[in-house]
């Protein structure tokens, strides 16, 4: 029923030429063409054709020039060797370890508190040092690649510069569980002496 109604309507509309808005000959704002409103209808008709054809050819000229220009497509992965990734590009959160397998994380948990969506989980454990003091050290620093919004808050608020984002952007996995990274390497421990230029708390926004 609706179908018939619809067909009748659409043909009715197509046949009734009053429905057609004649919009082609009205010079629009900003268009610096000839003023063709005050001409007699026949000349208007003819000049309308020529203005239209001219504008269309202008458009075709642009694509024609484009045909011969150098293409902009990047051919990944063929260009892997030459691909430049910006230094500040944030891909994967990492914890730099030095040659002694030592990192700078004190397991303070500031990154975990600052993370807006619970991507970071710092698991600490308490050990007893040689001189008998109890000390909190890092057990696991877990970061979920799949949940991270790369807002950089963890990095800029870290008091000991223990974590940074690296440039390694090829992080696709077949399994979500593989996106959960443990950042501290097995057997690693806290670097004893502090870095030469401690950033301190003032960097926090």
């Amino acid at each position: 029923m609706l179908k018939f109604h619809f067909i009748r309507k659409i043909f009715f509309i197509l046949l009734d030429t009053n429905n057609f808005k004649i919009t082609q000959n009205i010079p629009p704002s900003g268009f610096r063409g000839a003023d063709i409103n005050n001409m007699n209808p026949f000349i208007k008709y003819i000049s309308g054709i020529f203005t239209a054809v001219k504008s269309l050819l202008g458009g075709m000229l642009v694509t024609w020039r484009e045909l011969w220009r150098k293409k902009v497509t990047m051919q990944y992965p063929e260009n892997r060797d030459t691909l430049v990734i910006s230094d500040r590009w944030r891909s994967e959160l990492t914890m730099p370890h030095d040659e002694n397998n030592e990192h700078a994380c004190t397991a303070c948990g500031i990154c975990m508190i600052n993370c807006p969506n619970g991507t970071i989980n710092v698991i600490s454990k308490t050990i007893e040092t040689e001189d008998g003091k109890k000390k909190k050290i890092l057990d696991k620093h877990i970061w979920d690649y799949g949940m991270c919004t790369f807002c950089n808050l963890c990095v800029i608020t870290c008091p000991s510069d223990a974590i940074i984002f690296n440039n390694d952007f090829e992080g696709a996995m077949f399994d979500r569980s593989k996106l959960v990274h443990q950042l501290n390497k097995p057997g690693s421990k806290l670097r004893e002496k502090k870095p030469l230029t401690p950033k301190g708390e003032q960097k926090a926004p």
Partner: protein, 375 residues
């Protein structure tokens, strides 16, 4: 004057013909020849479509400062073959609530109409399956069958998008069919025949485009525009209008059925270009200048089918160029263009052509020594 034509296929064809006629009864000879021609046409149909799909994707990419398919084979040449395999092995999804018979019949209407037209095209010297006396009428009639398939597809899909697409297509096709037919008729007036092979022969020294100068050129432009519109390609792609109607009349189709629409779309583009070549640009006839036998001989060394495909290729490129340069039209702008511009111009044009032919103002009338076929 007879020129040497080393690469023409006429020899092979007549050898085959003689072989069959000598060894079989006339009925079986005709039957086997018919079957061979059918196979050849269907094979050419598929190959041309695949080639066109690849070419279009590549050229489109170049227009858009991209590279296009470049993963399968060198420069991606076997991309469209891979696509074909994919479409062949894809599931044909059974849809509830469609009008089953019409839904499955629709793609065949579209593809059959384009195969029928395809068969009548003279691809080269002696490479024409059917050569009717009323060739042009036949081409117009057969190609206009396709719209039935489109309308049926939209109607039977039971989908509002498809429906609107099909209705648009109906309106568009009926309108532009008129212009296309009239512009071909203009040339019929000029060359005095409707037989495609004769039209080609008549253009030996002067293409109809130049022989009929002003009216022929107007007819040529109108034919290109309306032919382009008939193929439902941008800027006239309202029936598909991907941005509005998702895929228009073939939204609900999948797998091979969709493949049929896809194939027919590309082949229709080829057919329009081929008919324009045959009627306006001298078809498969090489460029020849009366009196310069050496030059003509060189031209004849290039086989006729190469000439045909080269000319057609230029027109196809033009069609791609237009398609990827313009935004889509709206249905009322589209019908305005046809009914307020193309059709009136066409009617005046056909009258002009009649007057010209009667008054003897064609190039071959003015310079018979240069352009006329008969001495």
């Amino acid at each position: 004057m007879n020129y040497s034509q080393p690469l023409e296929l006429t020899g092979i064809i007549s050898t085959l013909d003689t072989f069959f006629r000598n060894n079989l009864t006339p009925f079986w000879a005709t039957f086997i020849e018919g079957a061979l021609i059918l196979i050849a046409i269907l094979a050419a149909y598929a190959i041309i479509a695949l080639a066109l799909i690849y070419i279009e994707r590549k050229i489109t990419a170049f227009f858009q400062s991209r590279l296009g398919p470049n993963r399968l084979g060198k420069y991606g040449v076997i991309q469209s073959i891979a696509d074909m395999v994919k479409i062949l092995i894809k599931e044909i999804i059974q849809i509830n609530d469609v009008d089953k018979f019409l839904f499955y019949a629709a793609p065949f209407f579209v593809i059959i109409s384009s195969v029928l037209t395809f068969g009548a095209i003279p691809f080269g010297m002696g490479l024409q399956a059917v050569d009717f006396k009323i060739g042009i009428i036949y081409v117009i009639a057969a190609s206009s069958l396709g719209v039935i398939g489109v309308l049926l597809a939209g109607w039977s899909s039971n989908n509002k998008y498809s429906m609107i697409g099909a209705m648009r297509s109906g309106a568009q096709f009926v309108s532009y069919e008129l212009s296309a037919a009239f512009s071909l008729m203009t040339i019929v007036v000029l060359s005095g025949t409707m037989q495609l092979s004769e039209i080609v022969e008549n253009q030996r020294y002067a293409w109809n485009l130049f022989n009929g100068h002003i009216p022929a050129m107007i007819a040529f432009v109108i034919y290109l525009i309306s032919g382009h519109a008939e193929t439902n390609r941008g800027p006239f792609d309202l029936p598909e209008a991907e941005g509005e109607l998702t895929a228009g009349y073939h939204t609900e189709y999948s797998g091979l059925q969709f493949g049929f629409f896809y194939l027919a779309e590309y082949l229709n583009m080829f057919i329009i270009a081929a008919v324009a070549t045959t009627v306006f640009l001298g078809g498969w006839m090489p460029i020849q200048i009366k009196g310069l036998d050496a030059f003509n001989q060189v031209m004849w060394y290039i086989p006729s089918y190469v000439w045909f495909f080269a000319k057609t290729g230029v027109l196809i490129f033009l069609s791609l160029w237009v398609r990827w340069s313009f935004p889509r039209m709206r249905i009322d702008l589209l019908l305005n263009l046809e009914w307020k511009y193309l059709l009136p111009i066409n009617l005046v044009n056909i009258l002009l052509m009649v007057l010209m032919v009667l008054a003897g103002w064609t190039l071959s009338d003015w310079f018979p020594g240069l352009f006329a076929i008969a001495p």
